[in-house]
Amino acid sequence: MALQETIPWIEKYRPRSLSEIINQEQIVNSLKTILSTHSVPHMLFTGPPGVGKTATAHAFASDLYGGRYIEDGHFLEINASDERGIDVIRDKVKGFARTIPIGGIGFKILLLDEADQLTSDAQHAFRRVMEQFSATCRFILAANYANRIIEPIQSRCAVFRFKPIELEHMRKAVERIATKEGLEVTGRAVEALYEVTEGDLRRCINLLQTASTYSKRIDENLVFQVAGLAWGGEVRRLLELAAAGKIEDARKQLRLILYVNGASERDLIGQIYRDLFYLSIPEKKKLELISLLGEVDFRVSQGANPELQIMMFLANLYSASQAGK
């Protein structure tokens, strides 16, 4: 190849084996025991984003079947939020679990990522699929919240709760990458990374790679700058425009975020929530806005129009920030 590819670091430094998984010692130990016995249960991996749920599922499959676990047809990953309904998922499972590959160990593994994105009706249907194919297929479900998974599924799975990444573990992960990539990352920068990513290792690595395009020496200021540019910046600008009364510009910014950037309204509302605390408006107004945002969040989750509901919130933010003057 004439031109050099840059592999995203989250791919480049993806753990290839359970022994490379950080921060989840207990889970890794349990999984290693399971590996040695070859008696694999259905499993439910829960925990916040970026703590290694998907990575662990892949590492487990790799240790179980060898490095060509995907190519050899032992392992299939389906993303629940990408598939149009449970019928499509059922067909995919059927196509995958119908046969047992030669040289295998008697069953395949199917990873259903973002399983909590399925409605509870779809989850009930999926539970039947699990039963139907449990002879030839083990299921790993990954989800942010266990309580969004229906109990009949939880009771059929061994549940593994992934811990939030600890600062020291993030430090080790960053240092490992820094050494290989020839970066100098200051101690304060690691703390900054931990703080802005809220312990999300995937975000941390993405942020680190983005920062490295600015400088090989990464300090806390650079981390904050890049974080501000890459995400949150858009949303903070949205709130600042509304608070300053530039409500038409705010509307345009809102549309850019929703329709062009392709962000989900869920993420947008979440980021508004995080930024809201730091706006300079009277605290009582702030509390009222937090409650209002909760209402917007619920309405949007129930099918209301995101642009209109968030505009309503921004108009109230505008009004509240004027009242504070």
């Binding site: 050099q4 802005v196 983005t210 600042e240 209301a304 309503m312």
Partner: protein, 437 residues
């Protein structure tokens, strides 16, 4: 009753078409372009209220200049197939020469409704690009969002309602040919009731004459037609409502879709209302209307629909009135323009997103929030290697780099850290607070 007068007295020459002189001139000019072999646009879009002579003008021009008119009803589901065949045929015929020339007339293009709408209009737009036969489209509501994709490729010719005296004098001519008489007062009443619609005026006249009793009382029995209100008329009623009752009537008297009304009203709030508290109040009511509407849709609870109309129809007007707001300017919804302007960028971002999601095995939504912001920032810094890894095209890269909408001054890493912790320690230092003393 013999032939309907509307057909019997259909104009045979352009000069016989009543009123709308400007539109007639534009249309003739456009057709002359075709005859010279260099039309300014491949299609013309004649828009205006019913009965103002749109179709008549096309038929009159055709009969005067020796064209065959091929009529296709656009709201027919299979019209685009039909259209392709006709456009194809016509193209071949013109190359052979000798056959009569044709005009393709597409009626009711704003009636292409429901699921087929987007696809139908898109097919139409692509057919227009390749046609070698003039395509004339006819529509009523010039602001119908469905027409947006066509507006770029077609010459828009506007028709206005006819004046009362134009209608009266035309009715007199018809009555003269028929050898009957109606008194001036009755004609004026017919013309007034027609609200500028020649077709309905002619129909009413024919009914009156055929029932041989052209009296005022008979006239009164002719029902008033329900007229479709334009989007702007609905807006004027909504922002003019001062009671819940009149607001409800504004919505119920309109046949626009609720979603469309919400879009039109929301996008005009900021033109109409300035005070922060009033803006907040109006959006609160509109958001509530949307909430009730979303329940109707999601739960199929149709009985809840009645809560939408008063909030949507009266909220803006009542608040506007309460705060003494004087806004008068109504605009075409900015969201429609926004979507048109960003169409290319949006589709490029989506195709880039699909590639990134596939390679990182994330859902698209997750890839949008987890990968895109960093990817865009790296690409902005000229890191081309990641683009190669994800096999992004140059156009996709350009679209991603363009994401964000930050002002140029902020594009370079700013000196001030933009982070919660920093802002928490210096709470008065957010940008909004500093600008206003």
């Amino acid at each position: 009753m013999s032939l309907p007068w509307t057909e019997k007295y259909r104009p045979r020459r352009v000069a016989e078409v009543v009123g709308n002189d400007e539109a007639k001139k534009q249309f003739e000019e456009w057709m002359r372009g075709w005859e010279r072999g260099n039309p300014s646009t491949k299609a013309a879009l004649l828009v205006g209220p019913p009965g103002t002579g749109k179709t008549s003008l096309v038929l009159a021009y055709a009969s005067e200049h020796g064209y065959d008119v091929v009529e296709v009803n656009a709201s027919d589901e299979r019209s685009s197939e039909k259209l392709k065949t006709i456009v194809g045929e016509s193209a071949r015929q013109t190359t052979l020469g000798g056959t009569r020339r044709r005009i393709i007339l597409l009626d009711e293009v704003d009636g292409i409704a429901g699921r087929e709408a987007a696809g139908g209009i898109a097919t139409l737009a692509s057919i227009i690009k390749s046609t070698r036969t003039p395509i004339v489209m006819v529509a009523n509501d010039p602001w119908s969002p469905r027409l947006a994709p066509l507006r770029e490729s077609a010459l828009m010719i506007k028709f206005n309602k006819l004046r009362q005296r134009e209608i009266v004098s035309h009715l007199k001519k018809i009555l003269e040919s028929e050898g009957v008489h109606l008194d001036e007062e009755a004609l004026a009443e017919i013309a007034r009731r027609s609200e500028g619609d020649m077709r309905s005026a002619i129909n009413d006249t024919q009914i009156l004459v055929s029932s041989r009793g052209a009296t005022g009382s008979l006239l009164a029995t002719l029902g008033l037609r329900d007229r479709q209100k334009t989007s702007f008329e609905v807006l004027a009623e909504v922002f003019g409502s001062t009671t819940a009752l009149s607001g409800r009537a504004a919505i119920q008297g309109s046949d626009m879709e609720i979603e469309d009304i919400i879009t039109w009203v929301c996008d005009n709030v900021l033109n109409q209302i300035r005070s922060p508290q009033a803006i907040a109040d109006v959006f609160k009511m509109l958001a509530d209307a949307d909430l009730h509407h979303s329940r109707v849709k999601r739960l199929q609870r149709w009985e809840l629909l009645r809560y939408v109309a008063p909030l949507l129809g009266a909220g803006p007007g009542v608040v506007k009135h309460m705060y003494g707001e004087k806004g008068v300017r109504f605009e075409f919804p900015s969201t429609i323009r926004f979507m048109q302007q960003t169409r290319e960028q949006r589709s490029l971002v989506q195709s880039a997103l699909a590639k990134v999601a596939a390679k990182t095995r994330m859902s698209r939504t997750k890839a949008a929030s987890e990968m895109l912001p960093f990817l865009a920032e790296m690409l902005r810094k000229g890191e081309k290697g990641v683009a190669r890894y994800f096999e992004l095209s140059d156009e996709e890269v350009k679209a991603l780099v363009g994401l964000g909408g930050r002002p140029p001054s902020e594009a370079a890493p700013a000196a001030k850290a933009a982070h919660p912790r920093e802002r928490a320690t210096r709470p008065r230092q957010t940008r909004g607070a500093r600008r206003s003393p």
